[in-house]
């Protein structure tokens, strides 16, 4: 029983990070119908920026995160601006464009920070909480709280603000949205910016849990993408649920199938997707291709 619960606890904290990555994927997808393949690399950029400001310029962790989110958000704007001429014209080229940006970001990371990577000490130094023999890291709770807060803010933005409602409208029918005077390009730019910001949030939070290296985003990107698909690509609650599900699934397969855990994780994922191709929340409304 203790192993069971501890496994869930371990899976949930990484699951929350996967959920943040999945949110970024989903947000861009629902707005533009585009899978942003550079997303994983943006996560790495975010992780490096946050750790650089935290370690080198000695900013408080929270402030370092904010700076990282702002800078990566700007990178998201640049990506969208470059791809904008292709919007609604050549979908495949846009996809290739995001892959290209991923490679450029990867190269930039290695040029700026080198290939070796760095360990980030945890900003929360308190000892883990002991709950009936169950150990919960305080930093994990911080990660969960921030992930939850980010989700709530995102949902409020999409449902309560005019700009958010406009983005919803573009997601549903971009031609009708244009007809009623909504600037589709601006809407896309905001989606890319928020998506990149979420990636930086995920990268910055995961730094102290893992090891920041150029390879960081690759692994997180794939798991985050799988999480978005599992939850229902484009769905906000789906991304959250999918992220946590992938995290916990991963944690359990690691315990039971050892060296074959990755294989089993993705087998289970494939079976779920075969049974329910639209994912748990089955939104997947956007199809512009």
């Amino acid at each position: 029983m203790q192993v069971f619960l501890q496994t869930i606890v371990g899976g949930v904290s990484l699951g929350a990070v996967y959920a943040l990555v999945a949110l970024g994927f989903s947000l861009v997808y629902r707005t533009m119908g585009l899978v942003n393949f550079a997303h994983g690399n943006v996560v790495t950029v975010g992780a490096y920026l946050a750790s650089t400001f935290y370690l080198s310029t000695k900013l408080p962790f929270a402030l370092a995160m904010v700076v990282a989110i702002v800078v990566t958000g700007a990178i998201g704007l640049v990506i969208e601006r470059v791809l904008r001429p292709l919007e609604n014209k050549d979908f495949d080229l846009m996809l290739i464009g995001t892959i290209g940006f991923g490679i450029v970001l990867d190269a930039l990371i290695i040029m700026i920070w080198g290939a070796t990577g760095r360990a980030v000490p945890s900003p929360v130094q308190t000892a883990p909480i002991d709950l009936f023999g169950l150990r919960i890291r305080t930093y994990d709770l911080v990660v969960l709280a921030i992930a939850a807060l980010a989700t709530v803010l995102l949902v409020l933005f999409l449902s309560r603000t005019k700009r958010g409602a406009a983005m919803q409208a573009v997601a549903m029918d971009h031609e009708a949205a244009t007809a009623v005077g909504i600037h589709v390009g601006r809407s896309n730019a905001i989606a890319f910016m928020i998506g990149a910001g979420l990636a930086a949030l995920a990268g910055g939070l995961v730094g102290p849990l893992l090891y920041v290296s150029p390879a960081l985003g690759g692994a997180l990107g794939i798991k985050g993408f799988a999480a978005a698909i599992l939850g229902g690509f484009g769905s906000i609650p789906g991304a959250i649920l999918g992220g946590l599900a992938i995290g916990i699934l991963d944690s359990f397969t690691a315990g039971h199938f050892q060296g074959y855990s990755e294989l089993v994780t993705f087998l289970v994922f494939t079976v779920i997707i075969m049974v329910r191709p639209t994912g748990i929340f089955g939104e997947r409304t956007v199809n512009r291709a």
Partner: protein, 379 residues
């Protein structure tokens, strides 16, 4: 005019090498003019890039020392770097590339799985290769062109088991290894060393090479309450395991081979968490003798960082290769491989004497991590 002739000569060599059929005799590559081309193949990006960076520094230092003294037989040595990203597929592509571009020998890689993948191609191309890998799988390739610049896992783990079981009398041991080339070798070698002492590990857990969360594995180990946990995984993964283990309240001592003595491991785990870890290594510190002090000083002067095991290994390996080039009068292919095998080298890791398997060093020492640094164990 002289310069132009030299350029033409180099061009001719490149063309000749480029035109030869793949796998054909590369005798022509080692022609007797122009620089001697040696390839360093190692991860320069990805999670294993710190290994690649150290190895490159060690090799660079050795080559620069020789070049400063006039090179080999009056020819300069040209050291070129290729990034294998720690990926066996990229490694095999690079094996073909260095063959077609006329490199006469290769230094690297630091990752056993990559080297094992490259070995058949290098054997076919007759390019001698001095690797920093330590998996017994390297010996199993039976390539007479493959040499190890350090001991195999068998030696590391035999020494470790001797220290833990025979000397300390600890029999309550758990194992965590990964399913990559290095981890698999460590798993088999340490298990064999334990079995030969009649010890069965309390737990034998296998993780994947890019796993990030070890809660399930560590919690089940915690319930068995071992005194020592053996780690058979690379620097970063081992560090993550130790960090998460301490967070879960595991107080056991960790033990392992080369990766557990590196700064990357200590940084990732956190110095406090890594404290007391037992390490089996052929190069414990920079202050063992005069040679290591001289090496460490030169290393520090050139790269402005502390020397460590992997740099020392690559330095030794490169010294052996260059010595063999000198004694064989810049031979290539089979002749160079034989010259390497015949080279007796008093190196930083010990006295190298290669046997027919390509292994030249058969002992390691035990160290302990104290205050964030690896020091020799008191015995």
């Amino acid at each position: 005019m002289v310069r132009m002739r030299a350029t033409l000569a180099v061009l001719a060599v490149v063309l000749a090498a480029g035109c030869s059929a793949p796998g054909s005799d590369s005798e022509d590559a080692g022609s007797d003019s122009g620089p001697i081309k040696i390839a360093v193949v190692d991860a320069q990006s990805g999670q294993l890039s710190s290994l690649g960076a150290w190895e490159l520094k060690g090799a660079r230092l050795a080559v620069d020392e020789w070049n400063a003294q006039g090179g080999v037989n009056g020819r300069q040595i040209q050291l070129d770097v290729f990034d294998d990203q720690g990926d066996p597929t990229i490694g095999t592509n690079l094996a073909r590339k260095i063959d077609s571009e006329g490199y006469i020998a290769m230094i690297g890689t630091a990752e056993s799985a990559v080297t094992i993948a490259m070995a058949p191609l290098l054997k076919q191309a007759e390019i001698p290769n001095i690797t920093s890998g330590q998996s017994p799988g390297l010996v199993a390739t039976k390539s007479e062109f493959l040499f190890l610049n350090g001991p195999t896992s068998t030696t590391y783990d035999e020494t470790l088991a001797k220290h833990i079981v025979d000397q300390e009398g600890i029999k309550s041991i758990a194992m965590i290894t990964n399913n990559g080339g290095y981890g698999k070798g460590e798993h088999d070698a340490f298990l064999k060393a334990l079995r030969s002492r009649g010890v069965t590990p309390l737990a034998d857990q296998v993780v994947t090479a890019d796993q990030k969360d070890f809660s399930a594995v560590l919690t089940s180990i915690r319930q068995k309450n071992p005194k020592v946990i053996f780690l058979g995984a690379e620097e970063v993964e081992s560090g993550l395991i130790v960090k998460q283990a301490r967070d879960l309240g595991i107080t056991a001592t960790f033990a392992g081979a080369a990766p557990q003595g590196t700064p990357v491991f200590i940084d990732t785990a956190g110095a406090k968490n890594a404290e007391g870890a037992i390490v089996s290594s052929p190069y414990l510190s920079n202050d063992i003798d005069e040679a290591s002090k001289k090496f460490a000083a030169a290393y520090k002067a050139k790269f402005n960082e502390e020397a460590e095991l992997h740099g020392a290994k690559a330095y030794d390996g490169t010294q052996i290769l260059l010595t063999a080039l000198k004694t064989s009068n810049v031979a290539s292919g089979k002749q160079l491989a034989d010259a390497i095998r015949a080279t007796k080298h008093d190196g930083l890791l010990g006295d190298f004497a290669f046997d027919e398997t390509g292994v030249g060093i058969f002992e390691t020492s035990i160290g302990v991590i104290k205050g964030g640094k690896l020091v020799a164990a008191e015995s």
